[in-house]
Amino acid sequence: MGDCNFAGRINGIGLLTGAGEFFILQDESKSRTLTLAMQLVQKPSSLFGRTRVLEGQIDEFLDKVVEAGLIFKSAVDTYLGHGACREFEDFLRDEEKVESRADNLRRAVETELYAQTLIPEARGDVLRLLEDMDNLINMYEGNLFRFSIQQPAIPRQFNDGFRQLTATVITCVESAVASARAFFRDTQAVRDHNSKVMFYETQADTLSTSLQRQIFGHDLELAHKRHLAYFVEKIDIIANTAEDVADGLAIYAIKRKI
């Protein structure tokens, strides 16, 4: 593993929470502290006390999906610039922590929903949504592991293509997260966010096809071409999964319609 001093390595991740606040989260413990602080500031009333904690957990879980995307983007940038260096491996560890925290949050929410028999009508939909969202985080993490283990040799002329594809995929997932937040608070807005998901998914498909054409049109060994195309497909499939989440959300929102 090579060492590197990548100036772009970010120490904190900007997060827009469901409540509209903007935080810079530097690590896992800070994230937990912030959640706890939010819960303390919003002193639970007797009627909404339990749900407020749960709302905070769901919001934090969705924050983790966004955070995982931002880490993924930074990690791919780092890999394209410096290969699987120490900085890249740090990002991978960050991604693992985010994945682990998201898993804990998802389990806590699921257990609470069942234990307290909350939202009986929408419980199944919410559980499926959380699991699908968790799958997106797993896909980010899985891709970083693939980069770390297989260390594909990416020629410089493909760097922009990979960066653009990654950025589009991240935006697509962020739109799906916005749609998920809207499902909980404002079902009318789900449609608007879903249309963005569809747009970015199509963009990602276009970029993926274009990049694969460039790869296969280049003078490389077939095995090398196949290896690079495999990574392109694996990144692109994250956007497809986000689109599936959006499709599910469209149905869940109709079911929630008053």
């Binding site: 009627l47 909404f48 339990r50 749900t51 407020r52 749960l54 709302e55 769901i58 028999t117 909350l118 939202i119 009986p120 009508e121 929408a122 919410v126 499902f183 909980f184 608070r185 404002d186 009318q188 929630r256 008053i258």
Partner: protein
């Protein structure tokens, strides 16, 4: 007090039990059936408020039944309540829509016919007219209430979980109001026929007085509560499954509309308020809790899609307004004949 008094009251208590077993589902069925509210919570709230409604506001509707026919012998009242209870049981077994209110009115008319007492046609017209108006009013209340609630919720943009918590609290509050209204309006069906022959005497203790009728109503309300605790869970679960297509908001609207209607036709306070303002008063008449629910559901059905309505079911309910009192009157007449001639009981004076 003679033990036979309680024997004669048993038919009324049975009627109360069956009312609790069946009609509590109109108040808490959706909430319990969809597991939004625990059965124990529903049963406790329902029992407390049924008792309060019956004892505090039960006299109004019972008074109207008394005008229809004042049964003046305890065995006569026993027979009328038994005939009504048997009619309700038989029609329920046959899967026909039935109302305790209509059964007890038929039984009173049966007693009038047997004893030769005159039936007050003005009161009868008022009662029958109310049966037709009750589901209509429930529907009319339900539609704007639903539209207003849905508009407020859409604007409030509450989190799904917060809306869920609010819905639970609202369903319990609406259920408490519904149980109070049920006790106030329908206690007349259970104990109304016994009021003129009540074996109790007025007493007061610690500054709180209780008339003989209120003591009867308390006894009837306890019977309703026993019905709620012992048998209503099954009915509630069935109602919950049957109405699973209904949103929590719609379910709440139906319970509130039903409760308002029952309260309107039972509240003496509202009556004096309207009279004081120089407005026409609402007759205090026992109405069918189930048909108020049907009226509210039909109102919401018409709001969404007219084709959702099963008109044949509605026609069967309307037919019940005629067939139920007829069967009950006939049964009461035959039973009074047996009680008088076979068991040598004086069923009227």
């Amino acid at each position: 007090m003679d033990f036979t008094v309680f024997l004669f009251l048993a038919s009324g208590l049975f009627l109360g039990w069956s009312l609790g077993a069946n009609d509590a589902a109109n108040v808490f069925g959706t909430a319990v059936g969809t597991r939004m509210v625990r059965f124990t919570t529903a049963a406790v709230v329902c029992s407390i408020f049924v008792v309060l409604g019956a004892v505090i506001s039960g006299a109004g509707a019972a008074g109207t039944l008394g005008k229809l026919g004042s049964i003046n012998a305890l065995p006569g009242a026993f027979t009328a309540a038994l005939a009504a209870a048997t009619t309700v049981y038989a029609m329920t077994r046959a899967g026909l829509p039935v109302s305790t209110t209509q059964a007890i009115v038929g039984a009173i008319i049966g007693w009038n016919l047997f004893s030769g007492a005159a039936t007050d046609t003005a009161t009868l017209t008022k009662i029958v007219g109310t049966w037709a108006v009750c589901p209509l009013v429930a529907g009319i209340i339900a539609v704007p209430l639903y539209q207003a609630t849905a508009a407020v919720l859409r604007r409030a943009r509450l989190h799904l979980l917060r809306q869920d918590a609010l819905a639970r609290a609202a369903l319990i509050a609406a259920g408490a109001f519904g149980a109070y209204s049920l006790g106030a309006n329908n206690i007349a069906n259970v104990m109304g026929v016994f009021v003129p022959v009540s074996p109790f005497t007025t007493f007061s203790a610690g500054g709180i007085g209780m008339s003989s009728a209120q003591q009867l109503f308390l006894l009837g309300a306890v019977a309703i509560s026993v019905g709620v605790f012992t048998y209503s869970k099954r009915v509630m679960m069935t109602v919950g499954r049957g109405l699973s297509e209904m949103s929590a908001v719609a379910a709440w609207v139906v319970v509130v509309a039903h409760s308002v209607v029952l309260f309107m036709f039972a509240s003496r306070g509202l009556e004096s308020l309207l009279a004081g303002a120089g407005l026409p008063t609402i007759p205090l008449v026992p109405v069918s809790s189930s048909q108020a629910v049907v009226g509210a559901v039909v109102g919401l059905g018409l709001l969404h899609n007219r084709r959702n309505i099963r008109w044949r079911t509605l026609a069967a309910i309307a037919a019940g307004w005629v067939t139920t009192p007829l069967i009950s009157a006939l049964l009461c007449f035959i039973a009074l004949f047996f009680l008088q001639n076979v068991f040598n009981q004086r069923v009227f004076f």
